[in-house]
């Protein structure tokens, strides 16, 4: 039994590829937990970052610097009354959030956090991700229709039109990256997520820099389309607050609404991870060729630990700056405890075996985090597109440019 459990640890395959059900299950659990934590963290970070962009403080009351705010929010949403409109279509209304959450989480089966850190390495990984994430629009349409109300219906129609349109531009950008992966001896590319990163490893470059500027343009197209796909600002028409009150989830409340929230954020993380995998070198550390060699490997492998230590220091600075009033004593202690935990994690991450194992996940997460920060930044900066302008951008700019990039990539691949 113990052998069966430990047998996988030395494998260089993903649990799915190794046919190890137990470890696949463990990975699924880990991803589920990690994703939930990431969504909670994103919630806090978004509110904090947006607040600081807008010269406010954001959540400050629950816990030190509002650290416990997402927990409080989650609790509030769970114990809130769950309202179902009398005229709603009960079954569909009930199914819609489940459907959205299910699709948002399913895509993470193929996300490669590292060469072995994925649930499974599917032959059609990219296709699977695009397909399953495109299913989430069904949930949105179901929600809008089942609410039996004008504003949600318009929101749902808008979002389905928007997502179907931008999926095409997205697909074209993806194909050009897949084309780049076929530049090897065998001449065949791959749709596997892990294979794509390995192709970038083999070609010693991130695809975003490949055939400059073709890779970059494809990446930009994808980056725009992925914001539209996840219904975020400046493409947040389906839930445009000033026009449609809240779009497709106007009639949802409490736990059901929180499922939509969860799905939105995990979908953001999912598409970001596609972008990272396809263009930003997935789990590869920065400058794998320029700064190669033992020393640089060591230096870069220290980053995860250093990050946590840095965060811990940040927390301790907060402790020092906390007002010295008895009222704040518990908060100060809490923040100090939080810093201590972060520091401890940092220290553990310095240990060589952990360090080697965790590096890939760390670099992948950092890249995704940067992408998530961009999401928040867009939201703080841009006004909202109008519907016809949005369609125009999708069909008249992104689609032709995407086709052009695809053709040029093919030509460049044959000639260069």
């Amino acid at each position: 039994m113990l052998d069966y459990i430990t047998s996988y640890l030395k494998s260089d395959l993903t649990p799915g590829a190794a046919g190890n059900v137990l470890w696949a299950f463990v990975y699924i659990l880990l991803i589920f937990l990690g994703l939930s934590v990431a969504v909670i963290a994103m919630n806090w970070l978004e509110r904090k970052i947006l607040a600081h962009m807008q010269v406010r403080l954001g959540p400050m009351r629950v816990g030190p610097h509002g650290l416990l705010q997402p927990v409080a929010d989650a609790l509030k949403l769970l114990i809130k009354e769950d309202i179902m409109p009398a005229e709603a279509d009960k079954v569909v209304f009930w199914m819609a959030p489940l459907f959205v959450v299910m699709t948002a989480f399913t895509v993470f089966i193929v996300v490669p956090f590292g060469p072995t850190h994925a649930v499974t390495d599917m032959n059609i990984g990219v296709l699977f991700m695009l397909g399953v994430s495109s299913l989430s629009v069904l949930g949105i349409v179901m929600a809008g229709w089942a609410s039996n109300s004008h504003y949600p219906l318009i929101g749902a129609l808008r979002s389905s039109a928007q997502m179907v349109s931008y999926e095409i531009a997205m697909g074209l950008a993806v194909i050009s990256a897949v084309l780049m992966s076929s530049l090897n001896q065998a001449g065949t590319g791959t749709l596997s997520m892990i294979g794509l990163v390995q192709a970038q490893q083999a070609q010693h470059t991130w695809f975003v820099f490949k055939f400059f500027p073709l890779g970059l343009i494809a990446f930009v197209i994808f980056a725009i389309a992925m914001v539209a796909e996840t219904n975020r600002a400046p493409f947040d028409l389906p839930e445009a607050e000033s026009e449609l009150t809240a779009g497709f989830h106007t009639e949802y409340s409490g736990f059901r609404w929180s499922l939509f929230f969860l799905a939105e954020y995990s979908a953001m993380i999912a598409v970001s991870s596609i972008a990272v995998t396809l263009w930003l070198g997935g789990w590869m550390r920065p400058f794998p060729t320029w700064l190669s060699g033992e020393t640089w490997d060591l230096v870069f492998s220290l980053f995860p630990g250093l990050t946590f230590i840095f965060l811990a220091v940040f927390a301790f600075v907060g402790v020092v700056r906390m007002p010295k009033h008895p009222y704040f004593r518990i908060q100060t202690m809490g923040l100090a405890g939080f810093g201590a935990v972060l520091g401890l994690i940092g220290l553990v991450l310095f240990a060589p075996p952990v360090r080697d194992r965790i590096q890939d996940i760390y670099w992948f997460s950092v890249k995704v985090a940067v992408s998530m920060y961009m999401y928040i930044w867009y939201r703080g900066t841009f006004p909202r597109y109008r519907f016809d302008q949005l369609m125009k951008v999708g069909w008249k700019i992104l689609l032709p440019v995407g086709i052009g990039v695809l053709i040029l990539t093919a030509i460049a691949g044959v000639w260069l």
């Binding site: 032959n123 296709l127 397909g131 399953v132 069904l138 349409v141």
Partner: protein, 169 residues
């Protein structure tokens, strides 16, 4: 790669597909029918996966479930269908329908018994890893011409749809 509980999953997915199909024709609400159809399509995608045809499965999800059904729902929601929901579902043609179903069933049985030799006992184990490549080679090699003809046909259909739907061009 060793698939797990193959038989179980086969019956589960087939059952879901059949269930979805029955729901499609029995639901009065067209939106419910469409959702049931999505269930059927997704089960079929699962069956494709079991046949070691992941590419077909992926395309099935993207095109049918993610694309076409969304447009189906789009149209159903836009068009007012309250009237049809109240109409009698099984109307006078049930005799003809049953006859057609019976005939089809008999045909299946005849084909199965008559052509038993054509069905191999075990399916050939296709290489899963290179399936997508095989599809690509076939599409862009042997069947290049047919493929292009099909895409041309689709283009004609698109233009026709635009001409029909748009008042002024």
């Amino acid at each position: 790669m060793q698939p797990v509980a193959t038989t179980f999953f086969f019956y589960l997915l087939s059952g879901l597909a059949v269930l979805g199909g029955i729901l499609v024709i029995t639901r009065k609400n067209p939106v419910h029918s469409a959702l049931a159809l999505i269930l059927t399509l997704l089960s079929l995608a699962g069956l494709y996966l079991m046949l070691y045809a992941p590419f077909v499965a992926g395309v099935q999800i993207i095109l049918y479930a993610g694309g076409i059904m969304v447009l189906f729902l789009f149209v159903i929601m836009l068009v007012n269908l309250e009237r049809s929901a109240k109409e009698e579902q099984f109307n006078k043609q049930w005799i003809a329908g049953t006859a057609a179903a019976l005939a089809l069933g008999v045909l299946f049985i005849l084909v199965y018994t008559g052509g038993k030799a054509l069905f191999p006992e075990h399916l050939a184990q296709l290489p899963e890893q290179s399936n997508t490549q095989e599809v690509a080679i076939l599409l862009y090699g042997n069947y290049m011409f047919a493929f292009e003809i099909a895409s041309l046909l689709l283009l004609v259909a698109i233009i026709g749809a635009v001409v029909m739907a748009k008042k002024r061009i």
